[in-house]
Each structure stands twice: as C-alpha cells, then as structure tokens.
Symmetry: C2
Subunit: 440 residues, 2 copies
C-alpha cells in the first residue's frame, strides 16, 4: 500500500481525552476515531489489526471444533423475558422500540438467542457436543465509557456457546476453549494467565478470566512465577482427546493465580517470596460453565440415550477483539509508539523513501516494493514528500515490526537501511538483500 | 468439515412464510434463521457464503483503490441533523435513546459519518482522490419486511464513499466503482446489467442500479440483447487510466437498459424486436454521484490549488452482500435446490459416504477427505448414518458444485461416482482419480 493513496490520519499532539497509553496511541496512530461517547470507527490501520486478530481467533476456534455462524445485533425483548434477564439486565442494555412499538434491544451478549437457535433444531443427544460461535458487534450502555476501545459501548466480541449432554462432557468443552484461548493469545504475541473468576451476571459454577500482563494494566493481579516459563500447547494439540486437554488445563490452573477480587492472601502469604509475581493485568477473555441456567427456563432439551428429555449443559466463552488490540498495545509499546507483534501488525514492513523525486531513491523503492508485494509481504510504502523526521516518527508511532529506509546516498551506493522496531537495531545492507532479510 | 460435527439444520418441509424461492431455499438449506421480523441469523452454511461474497467484494474494492475502514452501527442523531436528514429520513430510521437520553440511531447508511471522518483529517486537495468503504450491518425499519434476507430490516451493506476535488475527477471515481461492480458481480457468477436509476433519498445527479437477471426477479426490466454477449473487464483493467475506465462505462451504458421506473417506451419501441429483452431483475448494487450535497452543509472542504476552500464532490456506492446471496439463488437454482456458482459456494465439494461403518466406504472416504483438504479444497463430508435418499436430497438442496459419492460396492471395486450439481452429469471414476477430477 502506498501511503499517498492510503488514509492514515496521524495526530501530532497527544489527544487530551486519552487517559491510557493504548487509547492515546490508537488515536495518534490513526487507528480509531470517536464518533460518539464510547462509539468508535476503526480507521484503515485499525481495521487491518482487527482483521488480523479476528483471523487468529477464528483459526483457533475452528481448530478446537467450534462452528462459526453470525447472529444479528438486534434482538427481540421477548427472548430475554424467557430467561428472566430482560428486567434483570439493567441500564447497560440498550433498549429500542421499532416503528410498530415492538420492544427490541442491541445484544450485549447472545446466550438467549443461541439457545433459541439450538432448541429450534437439535433434538437428540447424538448431535452433541456442539459449540457455536460468532464475531459480532455488541452494545453495553456503560455509564461512563472511557479508555477508548478498552471500555467502549459498541464493541466487537467473539462469543462461543457450548452444548453438552452432561457435566463431564461440558467440562471437556470448557477445556477445549481454555486451550484454544491459550493458543489464541499466545499467537497474538501476548503473555496471558488464566485466573479463576467470579461468574457475575452470566451466572454459573466454573469460570476463568484470561489476563494479559501489562505494566499499565487496569487491575492488580497475583501469580506464581512458574507461569512466566510455561509453554503454550502447540498446533498439534489433540482437541478430541479429553485427557490431554484436562492435563493442559490442570498445568495452567495449579500454580497460584488470582485477580484482586479473588485474591486469597492466606494462600499468597504461603508462597516463597521469590515465586511471587504481583503485577498489573488486563482481562481479554472470559469463559464460563453455567450448566442448565438457560436451557431449563428456555426448554433447550435433547432426547437422551434412555429416551428422556434432558436440558443441555452450556458454557459461554468470550474474547473482545477490539479490547484485545488495546491490551496488546498496553503490553507492547515504548516512548515512540506502538510495537506490534508480527502476527497482528497492520503491515509487516514500512518502506521509507527519504527523497521522493530522486531517481535513485524512487527506482530502489519501487523495486523493493514490487518484490516484497510479490513475496506476499504486506508493505506500507511511504512515498510522500514530507520531512525525514516526520517520516521516522510516523513509522515508529505506527509500530510496524520492520522498517526499510532508502535515502539518496544509500540508493546511489546500492544500499538500504533495515531497522527492527522492537529493538531499534539498524543495519545497512545491499538493496538486493532487502527482500531476503525481510522475509527471513 | 464432517457433517457429524457441523450445524446444518435442514428443513424437510417448505416453510409457509417463504414467498420467494431464495427465501424458501435459504431456510430449507439451513443457511438462515429468522430471529425477529426482518432480522436473521446467518447459520454456518449461510455464513460461509456471506464470507465468500464479501471476500470478492473486498478484493475488487481494493483493486480499484478504495480503502477499507469500519464505522460503527450506532450513530449520533446530531450528525444527521447537520445534513438535515434526521427529520427527513422518516420511520425507516431506527431511533434510539441511551441511558443519558442522548439521541442515537442505528445507521441506515453512512454519508454523514464518513463525511465527518473526512472533514476531521483531510485538509488539502493533494490528499484526493480518496475512496473509503466498509462492510457493516445496517438497519432500515421497513413497514413490512419480507422475502427473507432480500428485504430484511437488519442487513449487511458494503458502502463506499468517494471524495474528489471537482466533477471530472468525481466522474472518474464513479467510473472506477462502476467497473469494480461489473467485476464483482461477474466473479459472483451472475449476469448483471447496469441501468440508469432514480437517485432517491440519497440525492444526486448520476446514478446506476446493477440488476441481476433472474426469472423470479422482483421487477420488470428492459434491455438490449447486446448486453447478454458483453464481456466483463479482466483483472488487468487499469484503474489509474481514466480514459480506459470511461470507455468501459460507455460500452456498458450505450445499449438500451431500463428498470420499470425509468422505462422509456418511445425509445424501446424504436428497437428491432429481435434485440429486445424484457426480463425480470433484482437490484444488487446502486451507485450515486451527488456532488456537494453533504460536503456543503457539513463543511467538508479542502484547500484547492489556488489556496481557496473547496467543498468536495462525493459519491456513494452500495452492495448488499446478504441480499446478493438471495439474488444469486434466484438466478441459480432448480427444483431440487440451490446451484452455487463455484466462486461463492459454501464448500467446493460434498463427499457422501453411503454406508458409514462399512470398512471399504469409510477407508475410501477418509482418504479422499484427507487428500482434498490437503489440496486446499473445502469439503463437506457427509459421514452420517442416514438414508441414501436423504443424503442425496440434502446434497442437491445445499447446492455444492460437485458431489463425490462412495458406496460399498464402488469402494470395494476402487471406484467413486462424481456428480456435477449444475448439469446432473454423473461419472464413475477410480478412487485414485477423484482428487485430480475435483481440482481440475
């Protein structure tokens, strides 16, 4: 992509309304724009990151056996009356009346609707287990939306829902998502620790939050040092093997880990000081097992092996991709801007033409640009006639993993500079080696 | 994908509420489910088609130089007051009040918001031309929603918005989208004819509808036979060449073509009878040039070459992917069900195991399944223990382009049957040739 044909509205000043790093950097890097309180556009750069994050989430959901569908944003109030949550949900629910005065709402979550889809077509225990997920915009009318997309009112959510015949099978469904989440966040380039959680308004018996460690995180968390060295299951994990999944979950839930709310000071005090990690964290995922909480009132039953109707055991599993992007930035930035993990970077490489109009610079850049694109590398090519300082500052701000810098002297000598954003390391190499270096 | 692990709720009976073929077939083939009047879930099979269609739309938008972003579904009423459309839009707009009694709405279209994004960051004519698009859910509160996703209240829309310094450049922007649309619909496997259109509530001077010819189409259309033989521009069309684009548009707008509303019987009567094609059609795209209709009241100006502020010339360009899916079905089905064009089929191939449990059948199917997946072919593998008749009926109903049928006798003899859905043509071939035949 040529910057001259792109839409990247960089802000030079720190926006006053931004209280946290990710919000500031996302606004400055032209990733988002506020359209109303807690409601944001994802500008082209932000949209690219959102797509990368969603692609990883999707791949790992599919790998675990979950099946993607897409439920609408607008729901009928009647459905929520069946579960009893229409009255209970409170002011966070955005309630709507249509032209025929029918009561609708903008879905804050989808337990009711997915249960309705399930009960309308699944009849037999033989069709279980089933896990249905979608990635769709949700709305929660927060009193005081803030922190950009970290706590917005309209936000993207991947929510998955599992349906099983009994507790044991539901637990395996829970384990599948647990493992899928470990892999998802790991692939997004962040360190995540599962912590036992309160089940809150969704209800249920078993729940974990997935917390990203970030020095600028919203809340205090406590965990055993062992977590920092644990390795995440590989792509070859067998999601059909309940014992293998259970063993992984056991490994990841045995050392002490707790959010502020669930912190057990007695247990904590029992740990050797050298093993204690008190840090700050950001919740990026939340999984729940809640049994028959929705299937019973909504009559989502299957015929069991003995011919009797059995309400299904359910769980729900959420990741907020828009929030996750902000959390990744909180975990990976420096004074100059964002430092994208390669897997979620909006472009792989930034190519800087230091002097557009200079024949050598232009020729070298055009060649590198064409070759990188041909090699399947996503390149943002800064072909604009702006100051060197501004070019460097913008490239550092938007945080692409690698920069290729071509100046008139270097181009004449057949050389370019390659800079690694994360380390700041710079190296001058022959123009002919750039593609090999970048794709290495 | 193994059918036993998928979610494909086929309906055996024709649903009473479905008045048109596409609605009936989408419900029967387990593609959609109604959640409230005019509000649908896309079930897994429907979601896959939606993804395929959106991927084609996106590729062609990008090829033409448009840049993708993502605006939110919920908008502020204040923004619409600036253009004067908040009052004018009428009851089709879903108006919402939040907990602080601020007036919001579910966006029926995005001219105002994209103009706001533009004016907030673009200052100079040097940043033009610009075309920003997104693919996002919209809501129009139709009095009487019907025909499934053909005329739903919540629907997906790709809407693009062009910004140019003057009429001439805006016209080229219009031509770019015109050509991108020809390519998009062609790649979706349907015959489309551009027809001059009324500009309606969006306003403006120049507008075309893109109409798919389908015998079950919603409206009468009239066109010259020449259209049926015209070839669509290739992937090598040069979107930077205004003259090339203008020539293509001229070719595609010269022969007579009109919807019922714009029909000119005098002109029509002048055509030789042999050249007249009176058919039925479905609108799947609509493009508008509307000049400074929004930029003037909303003060979206750039500094021109002479240093003066100039309101930008704009156009908007819509495709409804959810509606397009229904239109493709209207144009491509038979008594037995849907016949998907290959490019938008939810899976490339259906693999039918006629006797799960039979060692030969299972072994042959598992091998074919694994090899097709390895070759990058999307396969739906019917591994379920159901009647042969039901298997065939389901496969024909969901309309995958090709079927591979493995029965116990054939498997023992090392053979499978390959069926082409569109023609019904069947052929028995060696098991070892199946992958080559399918990927040919």
């Amino acid at each position: 992509m040529r910057l001259s044909r792109y839409f990247l509205p960089i802000l030079k000043e720190n926006p006053k309304e931004a209280e946290i790093v990710s919000h500031r950097l996302m606004l400055r890097a032209g990733m988002i724009r506020q359209q109303a309180a807690g409601i944001y556009s994802f500008l082209p750069m932000g949209k690219r990151v959102l797509d990368k994050v969603c692609a990883i989430i999707r791949e790992e959901q599919n790998r675990s056996g979950a099946v993607e569908l897409l439920m609408p944003t607008i729901q009928s109030a009647d459905l929520w009356r069946e579960s009893g949550r229409y009255e209970a949900y409170g002011k966070e629910m955005l309630r709507i009346e249509d032209r025929h005065e029918r009561e609708l709402l903008f879905g804050p979550t989808n337990e009711e609707m997915v249960t309705d889809i399930f009960r309308s077509s699944i009849r037999s225990y033989k069709d279980l287990p089933l896990n249905l997920y979608h990635i769709q915009w949700k709305f929660r009318d927060e009193v005081r939306p803030r922190f950009g997309v970290m706590r917005s009112r309209e936000f993207l959510m991947k929510d998955a829902y599992s349906f099983d015949l009994d507790f044991e099978s539901a637990q395996t469904a829970y384990h599948r998502m647990f493992v899928a989440y470990l892999r998802t966040f790991n692939r997004c380039g962040v360190k995540v620790i599962p912590m036992r959680a309160d089940t809150g308004p969704i209800g249920g018996d078993l729940s974990h939050e997935f917390i990203i460690l970030a020095s600028t995180g919203e809340s205090e968390v406590f965990c055993h040092r062992d977590f920092l060295a644990m390795s995440v299951p590989g792509a070859d994990v067998n999601f059909a093997d309940a014992a293998e999944l259970a063993a992984i979950v056991k490994d990841w839930t045995t050392p002490y880990a707790a959010t502020d709310e669930m912190h057990d000071t007695a247990l904590w005090d029992g740990l050797p000081d050298a093993d204690k990690v008190a840090a700050r964290g950001i919740e990026v995922g939340h999984i729940f097992y809640f049994g028959t909480k929705y299937s019973e009132p909504m009559n989502a039953v299957v015929t069991g092996p003995e011919g009797k109707d059995i309400p299904v055991h359910m769980g729900s599993y959420g990741i907020g991709p828009s929030r996750l992007i902000a959390a990744i930035i909180e975990a990976s930035h420096d004074e100059a801007g964002i430092i994208w993990p390669r897997s979620v970077a909006p472009f792989d490489v930034g190519l800087i033409n230091m002097k557009p109009g200079d024949a050598d610079c232009d020729a070298a850049c055009e060649t590198i640009y064409a070759e990188l694109e041909k090699a399947g590398v996503d390149v943002l090519y800064d072909d604009q006639d702006t100051r060197a300082g501004a070019k460097f500052a913008t490239m550092d701000l938007i945080g692409l993993p690698m920069q290729v810098i071509v100046g008139p002297r270097g181009a004449k000598a057949g050389e370019a500079e390659v800079k690694v954003r994360a380390t700041g390391e710079r190296e001058t190499i022959p123009l002919a080696s750039v593609v090999a270096r970048v794709t290495a």
